[in-house]
Symmetry: C2
Subunit: 86 residues, 2 copies
């Protein structure tokens, strides 16, 4: 069993109005020194697989086909082995 986290964000070339809106709200709250705010989606899941390579292959296929819009979004992921309960 593997713990997987997927991070989906807009491609750097794509404007992120939501990120700019949140950055503006933060500044209006009086916080200074916040810049380059970008917002994305974050997926946590558990994935079964015989080995890490198989799990990564499955995760990439799921991202390409469902979790990320290839036209506007990019994704990265973390995969950690979870010790099965003995």
């Amino acid at each position: 069993m593997y713990n997987v986290q997927v991070y989906v964000t807009y491609k750097d070339s794509v404007l992120d109005p939501q990120g700019q809106a949140v950055q503006g709200a933060i500044q209006r709250l009086g916080f200074e020194g916040i810049s380059q705010m970008r917002i994305g989606k974050f997926f946590e899941m558990q994935v079964t697989g015989t080995d890490q390579a198989t799990v990564i292959e499955k995760v990439e296929a799921i991202c390409d086909r469902l979790l990320a819009n290839p036209n506007m979004e990019q994704y990265r992921y973390d995969v950690q082995l979870v010790e099965d309960a003995k």
Copy 2:
């Protein structure tokens, strides 16, 4: 300058219907072995600060006051120092 990532997810006690919906869609695409899918928001930003402790204090205040709903959501964050361009 520090790179900060904030991950906001529902508290474990809160039902995540969106996560279950995506998990169902993944299974209908024919992928097996996916469980415990939970979805959240992901914020990337740059934060100026004299030291890591100051930045962490600022990030926690921003999360408590804006990015996370304390009733239903929990958050965690990563803070990395970015080498300023010489």
